[in-house]
């Protein structure tokens, strides 16, 4: 527990209304969007400037108090849970968009800006920041960078690291460091901005972010392809890509997902279909029309039972609403949801889908399968109940086997959610031991007292 004099010091730094220490407030910062983990912090601090962040870290570093950076708390790998107690450093009050430069196509934002707010402001200027994690209504930019977030659009446009030009990071000792810059090309030394992108809050606290922007594509077209067989839908993805077409999104929803979405929000989805692919082409109007036709043609040839081209934006929005409804559809379906985000090479998707079906049968657990199939990033979720020890045990075994399968197919543990707490027990299987050692050494250099988000990414030695 933190001493009261310490809380007084924090109040001096950020003002008393920005330090929360009541049991109620601490409870409200003990979780994020991950289902199976929670831990109470000792105090919550909501700074508004980099200088305040620096002072907080200096104080924490001197007394070796754990600091867990947190934004909107939408993390699904446990990254923002203060597993060691200490301080939750919450950035939600650092929520200013500092600059939008249309001529250089960059923006500078504070870490607490909510992605959707950022998108709204950009859209008004005809600008576009492609990474679109499905938590966009709640996630903050600091988290988007610290988790190197992805989303459906990443198939064509890449993930957050492809857009991070520069960062201001407060180091564990309180030093405010600027790295990267305003240019798309920058070959000045090591790519340190990349090191902090995806660092899950373990190396520093991100306080300013310079992002590369794109012009908003003027047109888009949405296509829905319906399949009788999940694996055939999986094969269709490779056919599209190998035919030289890169849609902006290819999303996969299984029969369970289709039915569950319909149950929550009826929108006339084909509930009898075994799988559906939701695709989008974007760009210049004429190119989009031609590409959409080509996609529809390939889908048909690859065995789609039905194809719908959205006739207007309203219909497209309706279909994409189905996709964004998946998150709620899955997570509200059981008391405990082990939701994963493995990624496999795209030509291995049909095999992965088949394995998931087998694993589901073998352990007698329901495994909805939804994902950004176009980039091989799938979200199999095992529905279970933590209170039912036996079922939960089987669910964990099923999950382990899903990971094994993904790795054996040449895939990775996490496409976009990060390792956090959820996946650290698999890290040794997924990474070269020397690489893990190097990560720990880097952590040791930047954070010698191990105060920044301790207990995350790798398992601690017993």
């Amino acid at each position: 527990m933190i001493k009261s004099e310490y809380i007084a010091k924090l109040k001096k730094i950020v003002g008393k209304e920005s330090v929360l220490s009541s049991k109620e407030d601490l409870t409200a910062y003990s979780y994020d969007a991950t289902t199976t983990w929670a831990h109470m912090p000792d105090v919550v601090v909501l700074p508004t400037t980099s200088k305040q962040v620096s002072q907080i870290l200096k104080l924490a570093d001197e007394d070796k108090i754990p600091v867990t950076p947190r934004g909107g708390g939408t993390n699904v790998s446990g990254g923002s849970i203060p597993i060691k107690g200490g301080i939750v450093l919450c950035t939600t009050k650092m929520n200013k968009i500092l600059e939008i430069n249309k001529a250089n196509l960059h923006a500078i934002v504070e870490p607490g800006v909510v992605l959707q707010d950022f998108n709204t402001v950009l859209a008004k200027q005809g600008l576009f920041f492609p990474p679109d994690p499905q938590s966009f209504l709640g996630c903050t930019m600091g988290g988007v960078v610290a988790e190197n977030a992805g989303g459906p659009c990443c198939l064509k446009y890449g993930v957050t690291k492809q857009y991070t030009l520069g960062l201001e990071v407060v180091l564990a000792n309180g030093y405010i460091m600027k790295i990267g810059g305003l240019t798309t090309k920058n070959r000045t030394g090591y790519e340190l901005a990349m090191l902090f992108t995806g660092s899950e809050g373990t190396l520093g606290v991100i306080t300013k972010i310079t992002l590369r922007l794109l012009p908003m594509p003027p047109a888009s077209k949405t296509i829905m392809a319906v399949y009788d067989d999940m694996a055939i839908a999986g094969e269709a993805i490779s056919s599209i890509l190998s035919n030289g077409v890169i849609p902006s999104k290819i999303e996969f929803i299984d029969n369970w997902g289709i039915r569950r979405i319909e149950e929550l929000t009826p929108m006339d989805l084909p509930v009898e279909a075994n799988a559906l692919l939701l695709l989008e082409s974007d760009g210049i109007q004429t190119a989009v029309e031609a590409e959409a036709q080509q996609i529809a043609h390939i889908c048909k040839r690859s065995g789609a039972k039905g194809i719908t081209l959205a006739k207007d934006q309203a219909e497209a929005d309706r279909l994409w609403k189905a996709r964004s409804g998946c998150f709620g559809a899955v997570f509200s379906a059981a008391r405990t949801v082990l939701s994963e985000d493995i990624a496999v090479p795209r030509d291995k998707i049909p095999q992965f889908i088949q394995s998931c079906e087998e694993i589901s049968r073998k352990y007698g657990v329901v495994i909805p399968l939804i994902g950004h199939a176009g980039d091989g990033n799938m979200h199999p979720s095992v529905l279970t109940d933590q209170r039912d020890t036996e079922h939960f045990g089987e669910a964990r075994k099923a999950m382990d086997e899903i990971f094994e399968t993904a790795l054996s197919l040449g895939g990775v543990l996490s496409g976009e959610h990060g390792i956090g707490l959820e996946k650290q027990r698999f890290l040794k299987k997924a990474m070269d031991p020397v690489a893990i050692e190097i990560m720990k050494k880097i952590k040791g250099i930047l954070d010698p007292n191990n105060i920044l988000n301790p207990g995350k990414i790798w398992e601690e030695e017993a």
């Binding site: 407030d25 409200a28 910062y29 909501l46 938590s135």
Partner: protein, 427 residues
């Protein structure tokens, strides 16, 4: 007290409590979170606190009650919830369980349990306050005054309209028949609500005139009381809420339609079955009662189905630019969105401009704005910005509670915009 009885009301909404998946999407649309940026402001946080309460990790402390109170029940969280969890219901239930365990604190206990259920006495108290208002408070703007001593203890300097010298139900007969030559098509009971009765009686008279002119016989039962919204929804006092509900059910037992000009009242009356029905008799009576209740615009469009020609602009509205504010209780609680717009857009010689986020909460929320006036003002200011951006001369709505908040917001922001009830746009 056993867990079952200690959390009796919360347990009834356990599926909502469990349904929350902690995704945090509610942060985006929560008017309170958008001002405070603190987790305990938002549905996810409040729901987690209530879960901790049930687990025995938290108690009904003053701080806990504060988190329960600090919610406008606007339902924006539910509207945007991917899991469709109705956390505001859990919050109301938790307020109710707290009241059962801890009681209502002073001075609210006097108001909720004593004043509101005794309509005549309440009226006289308000009148008494209005005399003081005349003596002590200078007129601020037109007939808007700072609310005087009795209510200002609650109102904290808010600009609110003057208490009317004569209340609605003292000036209109119980039965109001259509004028000679107009055939009676339908008979309705008019639930006048406290605000229309005490503060906006002219609105009530206007509504009665409009309806009777269009062939509606309007009954204004003398025995009706407060809808109970501040009592059972705001304060969580279900026991007193039931007394009020029983009174209203009885007062309107002989009509088939009950109309209300107040979104909050309409919604509260329709909430009786959900929150207050505790016996088989009440389950039946409240359900039957709730089915009869209609918002005024919903009644005009869906039941009365007046021809467009019946909607003519009032003198005040003629030639004006009008925008519409959706009361939360109308748009989200009752799903009534198109009917008021249809009416406004049918009125000739008036221009309708939709404001941005028209359904965003204005921050009034009854008791909420009494507890948290500073916060309530900040929420209102966002609404006023949206109103300003339309350049409208009139902002119309259909909730006297919202009207008071909008009037206060307009004055504080030095805006010339006029706040009117939708029915006041009609001749």
């Amino acid at each position: 007290m056993a867990i079952e009885t200690k959390f009796e009301e919360i347990k009834r909404f356990e599926s909502d409590l469990e349904q929350c998946i902690k995704c945090g999407f509610c942060t985006f649309c929560c008017p309170v979170y958008q001002e405070e940026h603190i987790e305990s402001s938002v549905a996810r946080g409040k729901n987690m606190l209530i879960r901790a309460l049930l687990a025995g990790d938290l108690e009904y402390t003053k701080e806990f009650a504060d988190h329960l109170n600090k919610c406008t029940l606007c339902m924006a969280c539910t509207e945007n919830c991917p899991a469709k969890a109705q956390i505001p219901n859990v919050i109301v239930a938790a307020r109710a369980d707290k009241v059962r365990v801890k009681g209502v604190s002073f001075p609210y206990n006097i108001i909720y349990q004593w004043l509101l259920p005794h309509r005549t006495f309440f009226g006289n108290t308000v009148r008494f306050a209005s005399w003081f208002q005349g003596i002590f408070m200078p007129k601020a703007e037109g007939n808007i005054r700072h609310l005087s001593f009795f209510l200002s203890a609650l109102g904290k300097g808010r600009h609110i309209p003057e208490i009317a010298p004569r209340f609605l139900r003292q000036t209109v007969p119980i039965v109001n028949q259509p004028p000679a030559g107009v055939k009676t098509k339908i008979k309705v009971g008019y639930f006048t609500g406290c605000m229309t009765d005490f503060v906006f009686p002219d609105l009530g008279k206007h509504i009665i005139n409009f309806l009777s002119k269009n062939g509606v016989e309007v009954i204004v039962p003398k025995k009706q009381g407060c809808c109970g919204a501040p009592v059972f929804l705001g304060a969580g006092d279900f026991a007193t809420g039931r007394k009020l509900a029983d009174t209203n059910v009885k007062a309107f037992e002989h009509v088939d339609y009950i109309i209300s000009d107040c979104a909050t009242c309409t919604s509260a009356l329709k909430d009786y079955p959900q929150f207050l029905a505790d016996t088989p008799e009440r389950i039946e009576a409240y359900a039957k009662f709730a089915d009869k209740v209609y918002d005024i615009s919903q009644f005009l469009i869906d039941v009365l189905k007046l021809p467009t020609s019946a909607y003519r602009p009032s003198v005040e509205a003629r030639g004006k630019k009008v925008t519409w504010h959706d009361p939360c209780h109308l748009s989200r609680h009752l799903g009534i969105k198109s009917q008021p717009r249809q009416i406004i857009q049918s009125i000739p010689d008036m221009r309708y401009i939709e404001m941005a986020d028209a359904n965003r909460c204005c921050g009034m929320a009854g008791t909420f704005s009494l507890y948290y006036y500073e916060l309530s003002k900040k929420i209102a200011d966002k609404k006023m910005q949206a109103v300003k951006a339309t350049g409208a001369d009139i902002v119309a709505t259909s909730c006297p509670g919202c009207m008071i908040q909008l009037i206060d917001g307009a004055i504080r922001n030095g805006m010339p915009v006029r706040v009117m009830h939708i029915m006041e746009l009609l001749d």
